[in-house]
């Protein structure tokens, strides 16, 4: 039997992990940290993280510093150029490029988390500029205050267009946004009534999008008294939101979702697991960074309950392979391939975002994942460290088939391989009748179609 959450006690598991002789902070654990808190790390990054230790490595992820600011400006410039094509699919490629190259991987991962949480699809919004604006809102608030993010999203043109809430008149309040605030964004089912939704919708009357810009239309606002979740007053939208964010359920809802996103797919995190995080979240005025720090430095995070206990999402898979192997490829093509696997950035399936977990896996997506790895390995547009995969390994002094397989597995696979599966990879790399570069590409393809590779 493998270890489960039921085998641990929250009071112990939330203690900070301290490397020890029994459980040193190895390249494998560092790879686990970067797979979850980012989009995977390459070999030198793993060595650097091992030198820093988990606490300092997490600090660095939380405060990426000056280099990230320069990168932001550069990427903003590229995005403006991309917008000129007026094709949101190019913006998806831009975002993948950004995820691949960012010096602030946790910021980018959280930006992606918020995109799934406040899901808005370019398929309906159709205006790349508004999608970019929303994307930058998520990034600005990625690690900071959740309240500011919610107030931002309540005025966000892409979101309101996506939810058919560009108009909201006092005679017929539009309930759509108010419903999602309660159900999907802040509280979760069971913490409100239909009446609360109707009342909150009244708070947002007069909040409009005109020509892609947020406007408050005082003639359409209902200035009367509202009662939301047992609090009454002549609330406007922000005051309505404050009532929601003040609910204990809000911190618990977000922390529960962060736990599932960052720690394990299959575990049910009960209130006793969530409550220490939720307390920290409330104490820091709903700032996200302290919660993330608590997760990424915990014993829980470095236990077998977390390692390999998530299914890699398609984006984590595609971008992760590139980051781990210093790879570059055609990102617009990659975006379209990810669509087939069910996760194209900026195109979530519905307002609930991507379910994740076991929902990623079925016959077509598994074949698609294998095919994606083949296309990444074989494409003439893919480079590893600016060259071919065998040149990259040569540069790192890796020669024998066994050493090459072990190196790739350490970088790319979260759980140990059985001796038999490892031997099959070595055999593929050792087969006769093909050049070494070709055999390496084939090995990467077989490795990328392994069940183990699908775990994060």
């Amino acid at each position: 039997m493998s270890l489960t959450l039921a085998d641990l006690r929250p009071a112990d598991a939330w203690q900070p992990y301290e490397p020890s002789a029994q459980q040193p902070f190895t390249r494998r654990l560092a790879a686990h940290l970067y797979r979850r808190a980012g989009m995977a790390a390459n070999s030198p990054e793993l060595d650097a993280a091992v030198r820093l230790g988990p606490e300092a490595a997490v600090k660095q992820l939380l405060s990426p510093g000056e280099v990230a600011k320069q990168f932001d400006q550069e990427m903003h410039g590229f995005a403006q150029v991309t917008l000129a094509a007026n094709n949101p699919e190019l913006l998806s490629g831009w975002w993948l490029h950004r995820m691949r190259h960012t010096p602030a991987p946790l910021v980018e991962k959280m930006t992606f988390f918020w995109h799934g949480h406040f899901a808005t699809s370019a398929a309906k919004v159709r205006e790349p500029e508004l999608m970019l604006q929303q994307n930058e809102l998520f990034r600005r608030h990625s690690l900071s205050d959740f309240g500011g993010l919610v107030r931002g999203i309540a005025r966000d043109p892409a979101m309101l267009l996506y939810l058919d809430s560009a108009t909201n008149r006092k005679v017929h309040p539009n309930e759509n946004f108010a419903r999602e605030v309660m159900e999907l964004f802040c509280l979760g089912l069971g913490h409100y009534t239909e009446r609360d939704i109707q009342e909150l919708a009244r708070c947002f009357t007069g909040w409009e999008i005109q020509h892609g810009t947020f406007k408050f239309n005082q003639f359409q606002h209902d200035y009367g008294s509202k009662t939301v979740l047992a609090k009454s007053g002549k609330f406007d939208g922000d005051e309505g939101l404050a009532v929601i964010l003040d609910q204990p359920a809000a911190a618990e809802f977000i922390c529960g979702k962060l736990l599932r996103f960052f720690v394990a797919d299959d575990e049910v995190f009960t209130p006793e697991w969530i409550s220490p995080l939720a307390t920290k979240f409330r104490e820091s005025n709903l700032s996200v960074a302290p919660v993330l720090e608590m997760i990424f430095t915990s014993r829980l995070f470095y236990s077998e309950v977390a390692i390999g206990r998530k299914i890699r999402s398609p984006i984590e898979l595609g971008v992760g392979v590139l980051r781990a192997l210093d790879g570059t490829t055609n990102m617009v093509q990659l975006a379209n391939r990810l669509r087939e696997l069910g996760q194209m950035p900026l195109y979530p399936p519905n307002v609930k975002g991507w379910d994740g977990g076991r929902a990623w896996i079925n016959s077509s997506t598994l074949l698609g994942r294998a095919n994606l790895m083949r296309s990444l390995a074989e494409s003439s547009e893919t480079r590893f460290g600016g060259q071919s995969l065998d040149q990259l390994l040569d540069k790192q002094g890796i020669q024998s088939a066994e050493a090459a397989v072990d190196h790739l597995v350490e970088l790319l696979v979260a759980v140990p391989l059985s001796a038999e599966v490892r031997a099959q990879l070595v055999a593929t790399l050792d087969q006769r009748g093909a050049s070494r570069p070709q055999r390496l590409r084939q090995t990467l393809h077989v490795l990328g179609s392994l069940p183990e590779f699908q775990l994060a």
Binding site: S165, T167, R169, E175, S363, V446, P451
Partner: protein, 414 residues
């Protein structure tokens, strides 16, 4: 291929099982249970196709009480008048875009079941869709779908089939209706997705299959789950690549997404897979604003696709064994909103297409002067329609799946 004798034996064993002979006797030999299970499913069995209208279809502007005063008053910009509806019978007409459905009606292949819903309607898309998918109204009871539970109940039989019990065609997440505890059903975007690309190298294919199948001692649940799926994916790929290559049809399907999905379903049916359920969805019915043109386009797509599909099945001699169920998670409010759209509602019509349906209108149109929270009231529980589909079409007992108390609705010729 099965021999005639074996077929007969399997059929007799199945009959014994469904009559209760096997389950009631403590002495029935185990091999007969297994045979009953194996015999229940084979190419040629009845097939269910589910078409999901996602977003909440405006039932009131689909099956229209066009003479109703209340309808015209509550729908000042959206009401469709008697000069435009496609008349069905009495005061009921179809939306003018549903010419495909009108043809099906003429051919006696369409049943319009009116006023379908469930008690205490939920107006959240996800909640209500989950309720339709699981056939459970309690939130704690949503781990598996109604079809998934039916597969779980028959997993001994399914373990012997190389074909999955169900297939979902589409890029969206797999519908919860198919979620099962033990028996996975694949989702596919197009038939090409069943191709494992190896650049023509058989050796590479063999390496991938061998690596997926190698035993994993001490593997955790999640890894076991992925490995089972990976093995089945590679097998399904082999089978579909070899069987669905040369499909020819005399029917011109519309170029729409739904029509193309249904064409692929027809191909898979014609390829002789033992798959019993195909699932497709058409999204966009959440028409909160400027509903008129959007809804009209969606209904045109729906009717045209269903008509082409039915014609294709007829041409390939499969029409007698395919039933199509068309539903949405809820209807919409009677009263239109200020954005010339409609908000989430409750009861709505559903449709059944096939040669064995009771063609025409079934049940009365819900009254518009007797509303509950602004919505029409249901009179037919959707689970009684499911009961009819399970028992009278698929031949599977409904009570273990739906619970007691859902008498099959009279929607099929029996």
């Amino acid at each position: 291929m099965l021999t005639t004798t074996r077929r007969k034996f399997l059929a007799a064993a199945s009959a014994a099982a469904s009559s209760g002979l096997l389950s009631l006797s403590p002495h029935a030999p185990r091999f007969l249970f297994e045979a009953a299970a194996a015999g229940a499913e084979m190419p040629g069995d009845k097939i269910l196709v589910v078409v999901q209208m996602s977003g909440g279809n405006d039932g009131l502007n689909t099956v229209i009480p066009y003479k109703d005063e209340v309808y015209r008053r509550r729908r000042p910009s959206l009401a469709i008048g008697d000069d435009r509806v496609l008349k069905v019978e009495g005061d009921i007409g179809l939306h003018p875009s549903l010419t495909g459905m009108a043809t099906l009606l003429e051919n006696r292949q369409l049943a319009i079941v009116q006023g379908v819903g469930y008690p205490n309607p939920n107006r959240s898309h996800f909640e209500s869709m989950d309720i339709w998918h699981t056939a459970h109204t309690q939130p704690q009871d949503r781990a598996a779908g109604w079809l998934g539970r039916a597969f779980d109940a028959r997993r001994a039989m399914l373990a012997q089939s190389t074909d999955p019990p169900a297939m979902h065609l589409g890029a969206e997440d797999q519908p919860l209706a198919l979620a099962a505890r033990d028996v996975p059903s694949p989702s596919i975007r197009s038939l090409d997705q069943f191709k494992l690309e190896t650049g023509g190298s058989d050796r590479q294919r063999e390496a991938i299959v061998a690596a997926a199948q190698a035993p994993r001692g001490g593997a955790g649940d999640l890894l076991k789950f992925v490995q089972t799926r990976a093995t089945s994916a590679l097998e399904v790929s082999r089978r579909i690549e070899s069987s669905a290559k040369d499909y020819k049809t005399p029917v011109t399907y519309p170029g729409t997404d739904l029509a193309q999905k249904l064409k692929q379903v027809a191909q898979l049916i014609d390829a002789g897979l033992a798959t019993r359920v195909y699932y497709v969805a058409i999204d966009g019915f959440d028409t909160h604003s400027d509903q008129r043109d959007a809804h009209s386009g969606l209904l045109a797509q729906l009717g045209g696709s269903l008509a082409a599909f039915a014609e294709d099945l007829q041409a390939h001699m499969h029409a007698d064994r395919v039933l199509t169920l068309v539903f949405s998670e809820f209807g919409r409010r009677v009263e239109e909103n200020a954005s010339r759209g409609t908000d989430h509602g409750a009861a709505a019509p559903l449709f059944l297409v096939g040669n064995r349906v009771k063609a025409g209108l079934i049940g009365k149109h819900p009254r518009l002067d007797d509303l509950q929270d602004g919505d029409v009231k249901f009179h037919t529980d959707f689970r009684s329609v499911y009961a009819a589909v399970l028992e009278q079409w698929l031949g599977w007992p409904a009570a273990p799946i739906l619970g007691e108390g859902f008498t099959p609705a009279g929607v099929l010729q029996t």
